[in-house]
Structures are given as C-alpha cells and as structure tokens.
Symmetry: C2
Subunit: 146 residues, 2 copies
C-alpha cells in the first residue's frame, strides 16, 4: 500500500501540467494576436514594429514628450545598446531627432520629428479603435487563473 500511493498523485500531476500548458498557450496566443495586429499596423505605415514602440515610448512614457536612451531601454525592456541602434535607424528615417542634453552632456534627448508625430498619431488611433472593438478576453490573467 505504501508503494502504490504515489501513482494516482503522479497521474493527477500530469493532468494539471497539461491543463496549465493549454491555458498558458491560450494566454500567449491572445497576446500574440494583439501584437500581430500592432506589428502589421506599423508595417502598413512603413515602420518596423520596434520603431512604432520607440515612437510610443518617446511620446508617452515619461510624460515630458521626450526621453533619454536609458528611459527608452526601460520602457522597451531592452539593453541600452539595442536602443542606441534602434534610435540611430529611426533618426536616419526622420522619425526621431537626437540631441545632447545641455545639463548633462552624457545624456541623449530623443524627440519626435513632425513625421514621427504624424505616424504615431495615425497608429495610435488605429490601436485605440482596435482595442475598443476587441471583444476577446482581455483580462489575460483571467485566462490563466480561472
């Protein structure tokens, strides 16, 4: 009897794991569908998905209308050097504008150009429309924990 006890427990554990996997998969699937919409909206406007996020971070993260490389790295949850390259490419395409801070000359201030502002505005409207129309269970946490 002592030897038989673990068996049903193991079976129950396996079933729990399978159920968890399915709920986690659905969780990520819903998230990916939103992100996919976003990516395609960006591309349809000639931007890469990350460039769109960069514009959003510059305009909306700090509440100041501009941001430093470090702040953008925090917003994007990326390393500094990833953001440096991203900003460089975006600046080349006249989406943002770099300027060394006068207070602290180590700091790089990133602002939107007119073109960047125009594109972000359009994308923002598309996203808000999409989210409003969305009937999907956007309480993602609820997907996982009943």
């Amino acid at each position: 009897m002592l030897a038989m006890a673990p068996k049903p427990i193991q079976r129950e554990r396996t079933e729990t794991l399978a159920a968890s996997l399915q709920r986690l998969a659905l969780f990520r699937y819903e998230m990916r569908r939103f992100l996919r919409f976003s990516e395609q909206a960006a591309r349809a406007n000639g931007l890469t998905p990350q460039q769109h996020q960069l514009l959003l971070g510059v305009a909306g993260f700090t509440g100041r209308g501009w941001a430093t490389i470090s702040e953008l790295a925090e917003f994007l949850q990326e390393r500094h050097n990833a953001v440096v390259g991203l900003v460089q490419r975006a600046a080349r395409q006249d989406l943002v504008q770099k300027k060394n801070s006068l207070d602290d000359r180590r700091v790089m201030e990133v602002r939107l150009t007119v073109r960047g502002r125009r594109l972000l505005r359009k994308l923002t409207e598309m996203h808000l429309d999409h989210l409003r129309r969305q009937r999907a269970p956007w309480n993602l946490r609820q997907i996982i924990f009943r």
Copy 2:
C-alpha cells in the same frame, strides 16, 4: 465668435491624445515587462525566447500534444516560412522532432523530445509562479479604458 470656437476643441483633442499615448505606453510597458521575464527565463535555460514559445505551442495549443507547421504559424502568429526555420533550428538542438504525417504526406508533425519536454516543464513552473506572485494590473484592458 464663429472663428474662436474651434480653439478650445483643438486643445481638448490634444490633451486627449496625450492621455491616450500615456495609457497606451503603460499598457505596452506592462506587457513588455512580462515578456521580458519570459525571455530571460528562456535564455537562463539555454533557449531563445521563440524556441520556448515553439515548445509551448507544440505541447499546449492543439490539445493533441503535437502540432503541424501551419498550426504553429497560427499560434505564433508568424508566417509559415518563419516557423519552418524555427523548427529546423529547434530540431538541430534536440528540442523537437519532425515527422512526416502518414495520412497526408504534405503535413509535418512536430513533437517534443524528452529534452524539450523537460525544459518546457521547468519554464512552465517558473511562469506560473511568476504570474501568481504578480500583483501588477494584469487586466491590461483596464489600463486603457479606465
């Protein structure tokens, strides 16, 4: 008087846009923070983030325990060819196993290897733990619409 009416409307619109930008930014920021945790958990176990998602899709998306390239493309919200490459690289590292279907020889059946199953199990536990501890406003929709 007719000429002055539009001014406050314009001002209000601008304020609404700024507020929307800030809420959208927070929305994406929270999402990125979760995704960042996930990416680092994957990397800490020697996987790329996409490889982890691939394993999750194979094991949890269809309810069958295996998946086709097309199904994985739907789950990952990527194009077929992106998944083909992803599966190839994952197979090279003994994470998944490819097998042509006997029913329809166009179809490729993707399954987890023992190694893939072991890694996914570990990552799944880490993710569930993380989500349980999470006190953040995981009703993302609520972040945007009051």
